[in-house]
Subunit: 220 residues, 4 copies
Amino acid sequence: MGFFESLKDNCADEWRAYTRHEFVLQLGAATLPKPAFQTYLVQDYLFLIQFARAHALAVYKSTNLQDMRDAAAGVSAILDVEMDLHVRLCADWGLSAADLEHSVEAPQTIAYTRFVLEAGHAGDILDLMVALAPCMLGYAEIGRWLVAEHGKPEANHPYQTWINEYAGQAYQDVAQATLLTLEKHASELLTQGRQNRLFHLFSQATRLEAEFWQMGLTSV
Amino acid sequence: MGFFESLKDNCADEWRAYTRHEFVLQLGAATLPKPAFQTYLVQDYLFLIQFARAHALAVYKSTNLQDMRDAAAGVSAILDVEMDLHVRLCADWGLSAADLEHSVEAPQTIAYTRFVLEAGHAGDILDLMVALAPCMLGYAEIGRWLVAEHGKPEANHPYQTWINEYAGQAYQDVAQATLLTLEKHASELLTQGRQNRLFHLFSQATRLEAEFWQMGLTSV
Amino acid sequence: MGFFESLKDNCADEWRAYTRHEFVLQLGAATLPKPAFQTYLVQDYLFLIQFARAHALAVYKSTNLQDMRDAAAGVSAILDVEMDLHVRLCADWGLSAADLEHSVEAPQTIAYTRFVLEAGHAGDILDLMVALAPCMLGYAEIGRWLVAEHGKPEANHPYQTWINEYAGQAYQDVAQATLLTLEKHASELLTQGRQNRLFHLFSQATRLEAEFWQMGLTSV
Amino acid sequence: MGFFESLKDNCADEWRAYTRHEFVLQLGAATLPKPAFQTYLVQDYLFLIQFARAHALAVYKSTNLQDMRDAAAGVSAILDVEMDLHVRLCADWGLSAADLEHSVEAPQTIAYTRFVLEAGHAGDILDLMVALAPCMLGYAEIGRWLVAEHGKPEANHPYQTWINEYAGQAYQDVAQATLLTLEKHASELLTQGRQNRLFHLFSQATRLEAEFWQMGLTSV
């Protein structure tokens, strides 16, 4: 079994609670209230900023040039591409750039992002990658699952842009590359002695991701 | 007005919501359900571990020997004295050392502690101190207020140990020293240009402290 | 006077010892022994790796999106452009990629790069930028001075590629942008109380840059 | 073979060049010029400050309470005991506290200390401990060797205080505890995949320690 599989296996309930969260189910079924999605979108924008910082930390923590370049490509992709996409997606939902800039991070946004960043500071590149994995790899899994469950979203599906983004080949390719990097770091750095801590790190990060969905639902 | 006063003034509502939180009111009135306090105690134990790490970061971030020594005294006080006191307090409430060690950090515990630590990494010693201030100085204020409001707790008050600890002279002295250190750092490092970010940092930290109380209440 | 000017003024002797170092004079006069330049080139390659890490740290330490994007562009420029240029320049001097990869950091390389990175961790973005300034802005000054002194290098000047790179408009533009960023950070974060520490930081970094030139000379 | 033995074995020449450095030989033979020792003493005082910061980083990077307490005891020992001893030793050599405070870090002091601190930030607690090991464990070995070679120093030996400190049981006990901690971290975190990087880290740190001795000699 790959390392990522073992991380998920170790917290199968938390992983299911995150990837099959009520927010995800309603989003797939097109029944998610729009304000819930809007709340999520705004917080996800703020999340992206911290996510870019986490990738910058990964550049710093990398131990060879290729890994540095890969992580730096991730920083640029977030800051130069994803955030613009996000601003446009928000605009489609009636949220202006000013709305985004004046919004305040929810506790759930703070909890996950600072948990990841701090895990990165405290440990090495493997700790950082494990804390990031639920987000990067979980979204890919959610995207695939939504399409498997509901088929490719119809043109009138309110959340088709979001689904198409994460189920789309471009994101799936990024996720696959991230998975390979994670497995490579694990093959180089994993020991029996740190396995439980990494399991715990992943499990906590997964719970914090579920809380992030819940924040969207609860806001309605 | 001192810097700490200006920090509180800038988020007067959040500060009040934290220092006069329902958890605090019920604790003072001796009406707080015991399970709420127990939940809080366990999480506060886990909080202390991160708090010690934050003080270690303050040693590292200090720019002169005296500040390093003060912060190091804080690390030792937490690891060698406060944590033992906490274990004893927990034992009085039926919580064993094993209970504490096997407990899992709540999202609210993660949110505040990692927010503080990450703010410390990202910025300088002033950022770190501002993020820590709601905890260190807020508890002193809460302790004083509870005694002002209810008088010194009677021997049969269920939360007398807790109140006496934070209202007591030893803790008040530590808080006063912390206040002076914060003001010194501000006098050395504060600029108009970073004031708003520090206000925001303090306000966010204060909100996360209120969430920490709420966690205790909600757990019941 | 701008902040950068005040930094240089404060350590005018050290600044001159660095920017008019014997290594620079000989390089301009085309009398620098080739082995000295080769030693420098190899160490400068290793330097660039740490320099990319320092820019990644600047992304992380930035307090707004624009600064993050600027620093991220710096990371990409180093990893994707400058390092390739450097490999080609080294190849022209008979140094293969394998030579570079198997080379070992000299103490002088370690001293300056780790000093910069550690100053960045310990402080905020201004500390990091001040520690980086002697390199980024010093090289621009050296490039300009060499051309002012000797004219644009002839085609048979052994070090013309190096001189043209740092005297060239592209590098001068990057340096100018860096200067503006430094001045902006200073206008936002500088206080009387931290001025001496920043002066000292800059002065130390400048001395370590001079040692880096000296390493090239001494190696012959 | 223990991990520390394998670290030394891997760079046997560098280790010998450090632990049997001309500075050490002359110190043991009582032929070391006093100005060389004075230069060393002043720089070692500045070194200790950074060393305390490195131990604070170790508190932060520790993954359990016992390791945090051990590292915190190290911070206190340096700040509250060793530095005072050092000030007294300096006073015996005609160096006042003001001399120490106004001294400037030599490049060699910067190189080793920042190398250690940065290695700690970039990696995990094992990276930090490996980078610290040449200092903590090397001095213990040097102390033992000097006494084995020359016998316990006579009362008129100019460097008897220094030798007795590092050959003495108190320091040897601290070093032994440090060794056990290093071996424990290695047994928990060492993999084949990171061994070469740790060997390199140790080898570089050892070379930087030798440069530190050399600085004393060269100053004369």
